[in-house]
């Protein structure tokens, strides 16, 4: 009987380890769509990089509606995926509910913190990256007025706006910053028509650099800026190629690296809080052949100086989410 038991136990262990070895990583994409040219697309690129390097395969699924969040994550677990990267702060509540039910599966949440033993919480220092592009915006602006178009009005996006405003004021203390949000529902991530209209209104008010932190809505913002012949700043992914000569730079949020690392570590990925800040290479700004002509050496020098100061800790960029207020701008 005992022999039987241990035999069965051994067989079960073998089956389980075999299952773990075969487990494919999973990617749960937030609303706005896989190809939003921004946040979600960055994660997808990271996953594709892993696929190309290792020859492995992964599953992905796209949220279409609010009601699907929990169901989709559960479906991903049921399909045997491990680890599972879940995108978007709105899935904090989802994982708080789902993750305890599957202690053997490891989750990685991007943009939110969930304090559970099987969740890796990855947060980015968007305020530091936004500060750098704010410096560039203020130096590129001729009118002294710059714009910010946020997606959904939530603390995370205000964090982008707050860092940006601090950067703008650091380079030009007299600058005027116009900040708008597209909406208060997740639909605000995918409304380029409204984004374009907001950008036009800001340009009419004198803004000649507009920073979009709005997912797919930002496509409309960049388009409106290109139509009006002013500069825009992309977000999350490198969006410089969308309108060469008009997109001044892009605030890079290396969601691709975060996703890649989780996929690479596999089911044994470390859990806990991971902060991707400037020092860790988690955020930055994009410089390539599409915007090389727009960035002068003086601008580069000033940004490099700020980068060094932030990494050394001598320059502290205020994080909106630390106290829900911003010294540089009132939203």
């Amino acid at each position: 009987m005992t022999l039987m038991q241990s035999l069965l136990g051994a067989a079960a262990t073998v089956a389980l380890t075999a299952g773990a070895a075969l487990a494919e990583p999973g990617l749960v994409i937030d609303m706005g769509g896989k190809f939003d040219k921004s946040f979600n697309e960055a994660a997808w690129r990271g996953a594709e990089r892993w696929k190309a390097e290792t020859g492995g395969s992964y599953r992905d699924i796209e949220m279409q509606q609010e009601a699907q969040r929990e169901q989709f994550v559960r479906r991903m677990v049921d399909a045997g995926s491990n680890p599972i990267v879940v995108l978007g702060f709105q899935n904090m509540a989802t994982l708080e509910k789902v993750a305890p039910d599957y202690p053997d599966t490891r989750f990685a949440l991007i943009d939110g913190v969930v304090d559970l033993p099987n969740v890796r919480s990855i947060i980015f220092a968007e305020h530091e990256g936004s500060y750098l592009v704010g410096l560039l915006a203020a130096m590129a602006s001729k009118s002294g007025t710059v714009g910010f178009v946020g997606g959904m009005d939530v603390p995370l996006i205000r964090k982008f706006g707050c860092g940006y405003a601090q950067g703008v004021l650091a380079a030009n203390p007299n600058a005027k910053i116009i900040a708008n949000f597209t909406g208060t529902t997740p639909a605000a991530w995918a409304d380029p028509v409204k984004g374009g209209e907001i950008a036009r209104s800001q340009i009419d008010q004198g803004a000649d650099v507009v920073y979009a932190a709005a997912g797919a809505t930002g496509i409309g913002v960049l388009q409106a800026a290109a139509d009006a012949g002013v500069y825009s700043i992309g977000v999350d992914s490198n969006q410089n190629h969308l309108h060469p000569g008009s997109v001044l730079t892009s605030m890079l949020k290396r969601v691709d690296n975060a996703t890649y690392e989780v996929f690479k570590a596999g089911p044994a990925v470390e859990t806990g809080i991971v902060v991707m800040d400037l020092a860790a290479g988690g955020v930055g700004w994009a410089l390539d052949e599409n915007n090389a002509a727009l960035i002068t050496d003086a601008m580069k020098a000033k940004v490099a100086e700020a980068e060094a100061a932030i990494i050394a800790g001598t320059l502290k960029v205020h994080d909106y989410m630390s106290d829900d207020s911003c010294p540089a701008i009132t939203f």
Binding site: G33, N180, P192, E197, I198, S201, A216, Q223
Partner: protein
């Protein structure tokens, strides 16, 4: 608020009101003939998708225009067959069209372009560019009137001017032609029209197809002039705001223009002032966004005049046997 700000808001109001105006006039034709149409949204979305797709492939905005109007006409024909020929419930047919368009556009876009339910961004001749009216440059120097002409009246896409001309055209067709008289009669008392020997089915089909044509223009404007390409759900409830405007305008063409301009103006204000400070209170933009619906409820409740829909609206016509 200075004069430049007012001009900027008015300019935005016209841009935003144009798709509403097209859709509102579309609904006007259909409902005046006794066919309720809540599928304006779906037809607009289908037209936006078809025009963006064909414009992206061909590189010509005019090809996109034809495709967009064509797609909208097909859906209008479906609505006509369901609600006129087969005497189905007009509201349910409209809802079906909305769902069909919302799903089908994304599915086909993903299959064709693999960009996540989006079409590529349109550039150059694939878009209706803004056109400057004659003397806009020179007129801009005239005080007050000059900038108004140069910024608010001039410099819109061609379809904006088409929408403005569609209003008197609609008025003329409905109130000055024999076809218009019959069309209105068929929405009030189809039996009388039938007794006079005029085809009720034919008139209602004509109205539904005109509705499809105008909805098509609304969608084409969204995708190839206001925006630059199709994105999932890009009509964003404009078909429903147009229906609200139709009730607000009490099913008449000139007030339809007024109502859509008002709603466009409200959207432009909400866009420019996320927190409108009136001195006493601060109005959040969400409230201004909701105003069209609130105003419609007020009108429907009978506080400001009375909104009486065409009497035979929503009722399929059954010939006496």
């Amino acid at each position: 608020m200075d004069y430049a700000a007012i001009l900027s808001i008015l300019e935005g109001a016209i841009r935003l009101a144009t798709p509403l105006l097209f859709a509102c006039l579309a609904g006007l034709f259909s409902e005046r003939a006794g066919v309720f149409d809540i599928g304006l949204e779906g037809k607009m979305l289908a037209a936006a998708f078809a025009s963006a797709t064909l414009a992206a492939v061909s590189g010509s905005a005019w090809v996109g225009l034809a495709a967009g109007v064509g797609a909208s006409l097909v859906l209008a024909a479906v609505h006509g067959v369901a609600s006129i020929t087969f005497r189905g419930n007009q509201l349910i047919a409209g809802v079906a069209i909305n769902f069909l368009a919302a799903g089908l556009t994304v599915l086909v876009a993903q299959d064709v372009f693999a960009l996540g339910g989006r079409t590529p961004a349109l550039t150059g001749a694939a878009r209706f560019q803004s056109i400057a009216l004659p003397f806009a440059e020179t007129a801009a120097t005239i005080p007050v009137v000059g900038p108004f002409y140069a910024r608010v009246i001039s410099g819109h896409a061609l379809l904006v001017y088409v929408a403005a001309l569609a209003v008197p055209a609609t008025w003329w067709i409905l109130f000055r032609t024999r076809f218009g008289l019959r069309l209105r009669a068929v929405g009030e008392n189809p039996a009388a029209v039938d007794t006079a020997g005029v085809s009720v089915t034919g008139l209602r089909f004509a109205a539904v197809m005109i509705c499809g044509f105008l909805c098509g223009l609304a969608g084409v404007y969204l995708a190839t002039a206001l925006g630059a390409g199709f994105v999932k759900d890009m009509s964003g409830g404009r078909g429903f705001i147009a229906l609200a405007a139709l009730i607000f305008a009490k099913w008449r063409p000139w007030p339809a223009m007024g109502a859509t301009m008002l709603f466009g103006f409200l959207q432009a204000v909400a866009t420019r002032y996320p927190r409108l400070d009136l001195g006493v209170v601060v109005v959040p933009s969400q409230f201004i966004d909701a105003l069209p619906y609130i105003l419609t409820v007020v009108i429907l409740a009978g506080f400001v005049g009375k909104a009486i829909p065409p009497r035979a609206g929503g009722i399929p016509y059954v010939k006496e046997r």
